[in-house]
């Protein structure tokens, strides 16, 4: 890749997605774009980038963004956060939302669906306590390809063996050839939307819980801070935020603070005040 194309391409991806691609990512870019060049029937990556520069083709732009995303995800990723959700966050919501009997969860980087479906399965397991409740799980991602897979809810044998307890596989999946399809009642519990975290959040509505896991790591401090500040605005005073194992709010935003004793969970801080105890 020519230096000029590299500069154009990394800026393009940064502007479109927030993803930071340093000079050390040349190899990554080339390995992701090579299959795309074949798909678009152009001989070289340089020609592909040339096409991206000259023709404002939304289909190509979308493919390029999709190609640069890392969509890796697992059911019950890291285990602990979902134990905490079931044992701590959910009981708190059941109590605090008892009057209106509803709450909303946002998976802000839903990727191929494992995270929202994990939550949907947990809620199904706790269905007895949720009778008469309305729970929204909204899964969004910038990657169209990932969202298509999420909506289909069909996973490989490898994917259903990383993190998913066998009892839940038996309960909520059906074998389809050598793949595993998630049960319609779990699939329909999640609403998917194509959504860029760099855009305005207002259209999504308010959320009691936000899962924003393993996506901020790809952004610079400024982008991280802006996204988290805007998330805080969507949340009530007792809202909770989940980040990935390698992510934190410390030094990034003042609008969240770690929940004491609970790794990976953050509470909203009222502007100019301390977080609501809870």
């Amino acid at each position: 890749m020519k230096p000029d194309d590299f500069a154009y391409f990394t800026k393009y991806i940064y502007d479109q997605t927030g993803l930071v691609l340093g000079p050390d990512k040349m190899y990554l870019i080339e390995s992701r774009l090579a299959p795309l060049a074949r798909k678009w029937n152009v001989a070289t990556i340089d020609l592909l980038v040339g096409q991206l520069r000259s023709a404002r083709d939304p289909a190509l732009q979308r493919d390029v963004v999709d190609a640069m995303m890392t969509n890796e995800s697992f059911f019950f990723r890291d285990g602990k956060p979902f134990d905490q959700f079931r044992q701590l966050i959910l009981p708190a919501l059941l109590q605090s939302r008892a009057a209106k009997k509803s709450f909303r969860i946002w998976c802000a980087a839903a990727s191929t669906g494992q995270e929202p479906y994990t939550l949907a399965m947990i809620l199904k397991e706790e269905a007895a306590k949720l009778a008469g409740w309305r729970v929204d799980i909204v899964g969004t991602d910038i990657s169209h390809e990932a969202l298509e897979r999420a909506k289909a809810g069909i996973y490989t044998q490898f994917e259903v063996q990383r993190g998913l307890p066998i009892t839940l596989l038996v309960k909520y999946f059906k074998q389809q050839g050598d793949k595993w399809g998630i049960a319609p009642e779990i699939r329909s519990a999640v609403q998917y939307r194509s959504f860029n975290l760099l855009s305005e959040f207002a259209s999504l509505g308010a959320f009691d819980v936000i899962f924003c896991r393993n996506v901020l790591i790809y952004f610079d401090q400024k982008t991280k801070g802006q996204i988290l500040d805007r998330m805080a605005k969507l949340m009530p005073a007792d809202g909770v935020l989940y980040l990935g194992g390698a992510e934190t709010v410390l030094g990034v935003t003042e609008r969240f603070q770690p929940m004491p004793g609970q790794r990976g969970i953050y509470q909203v801080v009222a502007p100019g005040g301390a977080a609501k105890a809870g």
């Binding site: 697992f74 063996q161 990383r162 993190g163 307890p165 066998i166 009892t167 596989l169 038996v170 074998q175």
Partner: protein
């Protein structure tokens, strides 16, 4: 050091499993069928058992039922590890007392994820 019994009639699979489990710090014993595995368990109950289904002499599910009926036989954590991927087979295994179920082909990542789930890691 926790102990693991690897039960499979294929020496190749036993070797693969041994290498993966040893890397997680387990002390490994091997058995080539359910009968030999049961004898090994009666001598000393391992902490974990990786269990194939189809084996000569005594198969995995027969072994598991016999194990759970043996004094002290509820203690080991049993992970089936088999090419059987039929839902009815998986259910049978759970009913017989399996703690987890790995569908072959497996790799180190799957084993690690399952071991974490059952609390052996």
């Amino acid at each position: 050091m926790k102990s693991f019994l690897v039960v499979d009639d294929s020496r190749v699979i036993r070797n693969v499993a041994r290498r993966i489990l040893e890397a997680f710090g387990f002390k490994i014993e091997e058995a080539a069928d359910g009968q030999l595995a049961l004898e090994a368990c009666k001598r000393a109950m391992p902490d974990g058992i990786l269990l194939d289904w189809n084996m000569p002499v005594m198969n995995g599910i027969e072994f598991l039922r016999a194990l759970r009926a043996t004094p002290g036989g509820n203690a080991p954590i049993v992970l089936f590890c088999t090419t059987e991927t039929d839902m009815t087979k998986i259910q049978q295994a759970i009913e017989a007392g399996a703690n987890e179920y790995i569908m072959k082909p497996f790799d180190s990542e799957i084993v690690e994820s399952k071991l974490t789930q059952v609390g052996l890691l």
